[in-house]
């Protein structure tokens, strides 16, 4: 008879522990303002990303289509998986001196691990991390980007 009561009390205790757990879920069920769920594509306008968020390497240009990249190739050296290629060309300046400047700063987004080493080591702060994150593309070729805009040139006052 005693074992029978033990059996019943075990069952009741079990049900009680389930109810204790249910109390937590019920609390959140009846206080919907505590919920933190966001609807992703709908909240895109209000989405705030941290300034340091590493989404993609970009090269900022000013209004005169000038950038700060000297084409030194330090970012290429520091990239752990070869996602940056620097193609430079030599020109003759107005003073008649030969000078190497950047032709193409090629960035392979598909190979990038967003480690931030290129941005950190850039001596002229020519590249920064952008806060974009929707990187899905139909074609792999579109992940290869040329960061310096066509016709752009180096800003005045950048140390070389």
């Amino acid at each position: 008879m005693k074992s029978f009561f033990n059996y019943i009390s075990e069952i009741l205790r079990g049900i009680w522990t389930l109810l204790v757990g249910m109390r937590v879920t019920a609390k959140y069920f009846f206080t919907p303002w505590r919920n933190v769920t966001q609807q992703y594509p709908e909240n895109r306008e209000k989405l705030v990303l941290a300034d340091r968020f590493r989404g993609e390497v970009v090269m900022p240009h000013n209004e005169n289509n000038e950038h700060a990249c000297t084409g030194c190739g330090i970012c290429e050296l520091n990239c752990p998986n070869g996602s940056i290629e620097i193609i430079s060309k030599s020109i003759v300046t107005e003073e008649g001196k030969k000078k190497r400047i950047i032709d193409q700063h090629i960035y392979h987004l598909g190979m990038c691990t967003f480690c931030n080493l290129c941005v950190k080591t850039c001596p002229s702060d020519a590249i920064v991390m952008a806060q974009t994150f929707e990187h899905a593309h139909w074609d792999r070729a579109s992940l290869t980007k040329i960061l310096n805009k066509p016709g752009s040139k180096i800003m005045d006052g950048v140390k070389e």
Binding site: G14, V20, G21, T25, A50, R54, P80, C115
Partner: protein
């Protein structure tokens, strides 16, 4: 398939009522591509043979062609849930170079490591609940983990693969909001953590499935090299933070949570206790972060002196050992990571014998396996 056939043919002593079942590589409770070849008699487990290497990425070999500043970003990808602690293993390079890092760096690293430990244990908690049939825990755990990831995103620039510790210091200084946000989080999480107990710990189904299951004795824990919370639940005092303190751990007071039973339930309780301990460590440090540089002055190209270097750090899963052999060049000659998951995994065969296959899921859940950590 050929392998399976070979085992069946070569096992002359196999009985007719024993059979082999592949648990994984796509089993939901292995949390990754881990394949366990389980020898069963009915539901009773007789032998568990782990087959690792499905996502072997050759990180140790890759490091041989990378410089010392480039290596930390790969360690993020080993045990991605304790990415910061893996990054922190750059202490090995600093010790080899005999560089004194600023106090501020030590404080930041320790706070980050403890935040990461809480985040990792939160994810473990939700996954354990889910493995044992309580889906609700998954949403609650992930909801709270999000707060920590937001703090990481603000200061480190990434949520999962932080790459925050570099030889000599950290990548960025802490964000101006950092201290406030961490304090708010601690305050909030102190109220939420008792809810975890209410929701899952007391649950009768969970207790029935975990109490007394898969007992790992202290001797076995030492013999198999089971470290971290799994080893400490058996009474094996193996906390590197206590025994070989690094960063700011010598400055803080905390208890090493220890258990004696070594069963699944104790391993569960121990991780909950660790979350409380981590919070107390953060509280001791967060207001006292000293002013100063966030990185020591380092050369552009780091060259380690010739020799062998070893450093241990405590990740959320146990002890991570970094062994570097240097020949004086800018790349290491050889790097070996002693990952906690690998050693912990091979204790499962020993303790799962004689239990039901459903108990194997419970045992695996509380060992908190992260597969890239095992395969590297």
């Amino acid at each position: 398939m050929a392998e399976l056939k070979e085992i069946i043919i070569s096992s002359d002593n196999i009985k007719t009522d024993e059979y082999l079942v592949n648990m994984g590589p796509q089993h939901p409770s292995t949390h990754g591509v881990l394949r366990l070849l389980v020898k069963l008699e009915g539901e009773i487990v007789h032998n568990v043979q782990p087959h690792v290497g499905y996502i072997h990425s050759g990180i140790e070999k890759m490091t041989e062609s990378l410089s010392y500043t480039q290596i930390p970003h790969l360690t993020d990808r080993m045990d991605y849930l304790s990415a910061h602690m893996n990054n922190e293993a750059v202490v090995c390079v600093e010790n080899a170079l005999e560089v004194e890092v600023p106090e501020r760096v030590k404080y930041i690293r320790t706070i980050m490591a403890e935040l990461q430990r809480i985040a990792s244990h939160q994810l473990w908690w939700c996954a354990t609940g889910m493995d044992l049939g309580a889906l609700t825990t998954f949403f609650y755990g992930l909801r709270d983990r999000e707060d920590i990831l937001d703090i990481f995103e603000e200061t480190c620039g990434a949520r999962l693969t932080l790459n925050y510790s570099l030889p000599g210091g950290v990548m960025f200084d802490i964000h101006p909001n950092f201290q406030n946000r961490v304090k708010t989080f601690i305050k909030k999480f102190k109220k939420i953590l008792p809810e975890y107990d209410e929701l899952l710990t007391g649950n009768v189904i969970f207790q029935e499935r975990s109490k007394g299951i898969g007992v790992l004795s202290k001797e076995d824990a030492i013999a198999f090299g089971v470290t971290g919370p799994s080893g400490r639940a058996s009474g094996f005092s193996c906390d590197v933070r206590k025994h070989q303190p690094y960063s700011a751990y010598p400055l803080v007071k905390f208890n090493e949570a220890l258990g004696t039973e070594g069963d699944t339930f104790r391993r569960y309780q121990l991780r909950i206790a660790e979350m409380w301990e981590s919070m107390s460590i953060i509280e001791q440090l967060i207001d006292n972060i000293p002013e100063g540089d966030y990185t020591a002055k380092m050369k552009g190209v780091i060259k380690l002196p010739e020799g062998e270097f070893f450093q241990r750090v405590e990740t959320a899963r146990g002890e991570l050992g970094v062994y570097i052999v240097s020949d004086g060049k800018k790349n290491p000659y050889r790097v070996k990571f002693r990952s906690p998951g690998f050693s912990n995994l091979f204790a499962i065969n020993h303790i799962a014998k004689g239990w039901k296959i459903a108990d194997l899921v419970a045992i695996m859940a509380t060992f908190d396996l992260v597969i890239p950590d095992i395969d590297r």
